[in-house]
Symmetry: C3
Subunit: 351 residues, 3 copies
Amino acid sequence: MTIQEIQAYLTEFFDSVELVGSGKGEISAPAKIESAGAGEVSFIANEKYLRFLDETKASLVIVHRSVNVADFAEGRSFLKVADPYTAFVFVLKKFSLPRTIAAPGIAPTAVIGEGAVMGEGVTVGQYAVVGDRCRIGAGSIIGPHAVIMHDVEIGEGCTIFPHVVCYDGTRIGRRVVIHAGSVIGADGFGFAPQADGSYVKIPQMGIVEIGDDAEIGANATIDRATMGSTVIGKGVKVDNLVQVAHNCRIGEHTVIAAQAGISGSVIMGRQCMIGGQAGFAGHLELADRTSVAAQAGVSKSFLEPGTALRGYPAQPMRDQLRHEAMLRHLGSMKDRLDELEQRLLKQPHGA
Amino acid sequence: MTIQEIQAYLTEFFDSVELVGSGKGEISAPAKIESAGAGEVSFIANEKYLRFLDETKASLVIVHRSVNVADFAEGRSFLKVADPYTAFVFVLKKFSLPRTIAAPGIAPTAVIGEGAVMGEGVTVGQYAVVGDRCRIGAGSIIGPHAVIMHDVEIGEGCTIFPHVVCYDGTRIGRRVVIHAGSVIGADGFGFAPQADGSYVKIPQMGIVEIGDDAEIGANATIDRATMGSTVIGKGVKVDNLVQVAHNCRIGEHTVIAAQAGISGSVIMGRQCMIGGQAGFAGHLELADRTSVAAQAGVSKSFLEPGTALRGYPAQPMRDQLRHEAMLRHLGSMKDRLDELEQRLLKQPHGA
Amino acid sequence: MTIQEIQAYLTEFFDSVELVGSGKGEISAPAKIESAGAGEVSFIANEKYLRFLDETKASLVIVHRSVNVADFAEGRSFLKVADPYTAFVFVLKKFSLPRTIAAPGIAPTAVIGEGAVMGEGVTVGQYAVVGDRCRIGAGSIIGPHAVIMHDVEIGEGCTIFPHVVCYDGTRIGRRVVIHAGSVIGADGFGFAPQADGSYVKIPQMGIVEIGDDAEIGANATIDRATMGSTVIGKGVKVDNLVQVAHNCRIGEHTVIAAQAGISGSVIMGRQCMIGGQAGFAGHLELADRTSVAAQAGVSKSFLEPGTALRGYPAQPMRDQLRHEAMLRHLGSMKDRLDELEQRLLKQPHGA
């Protein structure tokens, strides 16, 4: 691809894409700024990487429009844009080949249930099993060995990777991606304790609903509701090995990092950001745009939008940082206490 | 189902099931009290939901026998019982349809090993693989794509969901449920360090044994013992993404919430309750009825039955709550220290 | 196997293997010292188990060369070596039967892609899917239901258990073991935030590389790099349910216990030891031989080799233990503060 083609492509997304340098040469691949070589395109979005303006061997570098690159344009070219990171993401997209998960069409070894309705251009991989009465939207890809149980609805343009299991009744929107090994709609963890110490299983009669454009990582688990639905909102991104328990409702465009665990009936707002390994007690509510630090333990509701939480039990960032600073000064508090005692002991008692 | 039929059904489990209200009308589904509509049955077990006595549109509500509902019976009916929650669980069971995991019988694409013995009425789903010399008990269901390796024993009435893997030699009791993606009997994590910094793998020659009526969530992992057995007791409930390492012994009716991690050779008593994301050091022992809070880190044995643990390192609840209260008062301790210093500085030194 | 045969076998690994006792009798199995019976071999590596010298029913016990066993040799035999633990590991290996994961050869139901190259003696289990242009090294075993996507390279002598998924382009060295349900090479968790609160997916164009002799547990996830490679070094051992995010580089012979979570672009040295459920912020670096306690939260780089870390945020062991000791003394600090205030109040103010 020529540099001019990349420039033209980026003007689809940005008002201004200024070329500095010769603009000559073919670009064959994107690369990281540290390791990019001739014929490659990279980017600088962070000031601390500006030293690579000189060092890099990349033929093309995307930078912020405020960066003065005139001195470095000998032998390389620059594109100046308002958001070099996002510009580079679009360049990555341009260069990325579509991954082939399965050959187009329904594999001869795929098992399609009775009454299942397959949209136009659906791909079903080797040995995948699609249950009775399922509806798979146009252009969706069901990877090899995926198991879609009965009465599941999957919208248009979805990608279900190998070894995903969708339990009966799951409803998935459009353009949803589910990575390998995730289990959607297994029974919620509900057991009624009995007088003799044993438990009676509470039937988990609900389903899971996943909104448009959501992406679920590998080996994640999202449990069906006891009644009604566990809801993953539109555009939600769930990382690997995350647990979402029964009856949760996750708001649109919320992002949940790996190994976070969300107990039953949690209601989470829109555009929240949840750190890795964070945990949530059941039945609590978080307002929109709440952010939760990695490994935090959230034990109660936080209803003020935009609150940043941290620690165990999690509290607002300012309080928690003050608390952590206090903890760091425990040693000096003890020293001061020692000294006060010393001074008092030197005084005649009751003087 | 009529209200009288539900009343009659519940008298199988409760001494007294009193009907208040007209008792007229058909009930088509169970529902949550907040969202229940006409023709639906719900329940109130918690005082704070008593306001729904008036608001709900449910046609039938199950309540505790002590609740006075006479004023609310216009247009709806009530059943009064000693334990409305458990009563509702039984109603849920009554309404829940049996889930079809696979068509009855052995699917034509299932692979059954040499010498495998299949009990009466066993179901094996599409593409499931059952190894040589396995024994599958009467009425058990092996889901599509489950892989049961050689020499595995599964008792009567079990449900093995799709994509479960049972390694060779695993022994599973009766009526056990294992959800999708769980791996039972993989090698324990045992490696002997060598002088050059590398490791030699310690053969993991034992097996996993799972007792009657246990239920294992989705994508959980239970490792085989180095020698002997890793034991999951009768009636134990294990949630999604839980790790049980080699040589552990989990006592009967213990409940382990999602993402908890139990290191090797832990011995856990009966009827323990383990919170989500809790962690356990290896080779420790917990008495019966120990409860462990979510995210706690248990670093040593606790041998007193019924102890509630919390925090990191985990300590008995009373100690830990006192400790956490002290932490909350760090700020005021610092203020008091400041004031003491002030006062002493005002005094003539050595006075 | 006779005791003399075991002695001869161990002399392959140790300079000196001294037999004490009659040396008579057949050994049929290894066993734990607590439960070993007649005809079994066990070991004692830890002083606190020395009481079993007398109690055990094992016919043969492997002990450290410094242990005086003459008094206990009536009816049993001892082998004295420099490292009884490692000696016993080798004995375990001697007794362990090779596990049969799949019948030798390519199963008739396995699907092998176009242009795939299979080395000599490769085994591919029932229903396994191997993608186009894959290269599987001599003697490797691909378990039933494993899905190896396109362009994957697997070296000689590997064991891939059932239900593993290797995404396209993954490169695996020699003698690597991957346990059931692990997902290698799923997309890294990378999304560029947009002004409207939604996210654009960042293409994950890199791959995963796994070095020789690595072992990956069950249901673990190792994500592909955005560009370039996520690297698992030679001899690395990764336990169940571990998350390794995109662009990480894990040094040789590092060991990572269950449920640890390693954020993107972490660079970890050689021979590190990572405890269970430990978490790591992104883009940090750890020197060789760093050890991290279970549940620790590592928030920054530690570049001194051999540092032991603990706590949240993780700090060097000495500092953290001092901090934890201080925390335990909070109560007495408060008492001392109370007393100081008492004494000052008794004094005439401003005296």
